[in-house]
Amino acid sequence: MLYAILCYHQEDVVCAWSQEEDDAVMAKLAVIQNRLARQGRLGPVARLMPTTAATTLRKDRDPPLVLDGPFAETKEQLLGFYIVDCASLDEALEIARELGEANPGGSYELRPVALFNPAETPGAGTRITS
């Protein structure tokens, strides 16, 4: 079963990290990701830009309305996600717990994936590195 681990955190807190703090968290997360990748259980991973870079298309009207900002204004924002291959919810929770130790604060939402289309997209598989 594929699970999406959706990462919610207060982005103003994450934005207040120094570069060193950010690097330290990313390094800790990379250790876990590398292990999952070696086990063949890691799907796409994405870290999203801050919600200030987001645009929302409200398609419940015609013509759709384009709005600046995220879909919902919430205390915690969707900042990224992992797709992991797990035999059970317990396994997925175990991974989420481990990721949470490396990156405390905020919440993970675990959602079983109903349809997964790992289509090749230009730029997919390339890492944006600093």
């Binding site: 103003d12 994450v14 830009m49 645009t55 600046d68 900002g69 405390p104 604060g105 944006i128 590195t129």
Partner: protein, 431 residues
């Protein structure tokens, strides 16, 4: 279990909203700062034990307000309020308080807090210091270090600024639309000043001042979250990100300035560039161009060029032309001249800057650019005079060293081949 760094990040993220709400509650900035400081001290004591509250700002506002009331009661020998240890996010108190924080007001409260620091009556240096002290919560010591001045001098500067702001008495009522736009413009200008305090640094001071750029970017993101549909705020954030992305390549190991053309573009911060480009993209959709968007668009053209020779100078010249029409200034014309020197050659650029000579007589970059253009035209003696003037006006040892290299080369070339114009002499552009 949280460690202290996390608490620090949570406290600084919550600070603008908490301080803005406490300032509204007490109608007094000093009282609000004192209450927030007390609340932060209590957070440092209780959060490691109890875990973080779900809404840090609401927690700080409530505890800060209680602490202030508590202090008054204690003076009156009355019963104290319940300990904040008993509070948690499962209590209704926070939810009630969060509802009390008038949602429609909190944007204007934070804007007001920012605007107080950007009051037009304050000189630029005081605006920047006050913004860093009040909104960012940096200590006087940290700010003094960034400004390369003593703690006492900085303390005095901030005290003076606060006194002026108190006298100016910015009203608490929700601002009208034109007032809000005016406040927003003043705040954007101050945030860019904060950014430039960090960006202009070089040499040994660079590592001390670079955090100012990061702080300015953080505040620009905050402003953008408050006003998500303002293209100029997007432009400002984009401009800062695109410029700061070059930070690692802008100075060499000795802190000397490396010009744009000579920078190792592999050291540019790609995620930062990507975010800047994304914000600019969003801003342009609004078709309401402004000075920050135009400057960001120019920075974006540099960021997009894989090599210096790939730079779209024609487009940059057009953008500077648009910026000149929107915000006429000899400095903008000077920048356009740099683009013109790339598209139409040094002679055309020289023709463009000659009328500016009087206005920019005391401007380092004018003489630096004039020297470089004359140099390219083989007019060495005149170039030398211009470089001499530039070096006298340099703000930092790094700027002086840069011009010194030009002068030394001119001397060497004059000795080696007195009649030959130099081939491909480096230009003097921005870094």
């Amino acid at each position: 279990m949280m460690d202290v760094d996390w608490i620090g990040a949570a406290l600084s993220a919550a600070r603008p909203q908490a301080l803005a709400a406490l300032t509204r509650a007490f109608r007094d900035l000093d009282a609000a700062e004192e209450a927030l400081q007390e609340a932060c001290l209590r957070a440092l004591r209780t959060w490691p034990r109890n875990g973080p509250p779900r809404d840090a700002a609401a927690w700080l506002i409530m505890v800060g307000r209680n602490a202030a009331i508590d202090a008054v009661r204690r003076r009156r020998r009355e019963a104290p309020l319940p300990d904040e240890d008993a509070l948690s996010d499962r209590d209704d108190t926070e939810a009630v308080l969060a509802a009390e924080l008038d949602e429609s007001h909190y944007r204007d409260d934070i804007l007001r807090l920012l605007f107080v620091c950007c009051h037009p009556e304050l000189p630029a240096g005081q605006q920047v210091a006050l913004a860093l002290r009040i909104v960012s919560g940096l200590s006087v010591k940290e700010i003094a270090r960034a400004f390369l001045t003593s703690e006492t001098a900085m303390e005095q500067r901030i005290t003076r600024a606060k006194r002026r702001v108190a006298a100016a008495a910015v009203p608490f009522e929700a601002p009208s639309a034109p007032e809000r736009a005016e406040r927003l413009a003043a705040v954007m200008a101050t945030l860019y000043l904060v950014f430039n305090e960090g960006y202009a640094a070089s040499g040994g001071e660079a590592h001390l001042r670079a955090p100012l750029c990061e702080e300015a970017i953080r505040l620009a993101r905050l402003l953008l979250r408050l006003f998500p549909a303002e293209p100029e705020v997007m432009g400002l954030a984009a401009l800062m990100l695109l410029q700061h992305a070059r930070a690692a390549a802008r100075l060499d190991a000795d802190g000397a300035i490396v010009l744009l053309d000579d920078q190792d573009r592999g050291r540019w911060n790609r995620p930062m560039i990507a975010e800047g480009l994304a914000l600019l993209d969003k801003a342009m959709r609004h078709r309401r161009p402004g000075p920050y968007q135009l400057q960001a668009a120019i920075a974006a053209l540099h960021a997009r060029a894989a090599r210096p020779e790939d730079t779209d100078w024609t487009q940059i010249e057009l953008l500077y032309g648009a910026l000149e029409r929107l915000q006429p200034s000899p400095v903008v014309t000077l920048n356009r001249a740099v683009a013109v020197s790339k598209t139409r050659g040094p002679q055309a650029a020289l023709g463009l800057i000659e009328p500016l000579r009087e206005k920019l007589a005391g401007y380092f970059y004018y003489h630096g650019l004039e020297g470089a253009l004359l140099d390219r035209l083989g007019r060495r003696a005149e170039a030398r005079v211009a470089f001499d003037r530039a070096i006298a006006l340099a703000h930092s040892p790094a700027e002086a060293a840069h011009i010194r290299r030009h002068l030394d080369r001119l001397t060497a070339e004059a000795e080696a081949s007195p009649d030959m114009p130099p081939a491909g002499a480096p230009s003097c552009g921005t870094a």
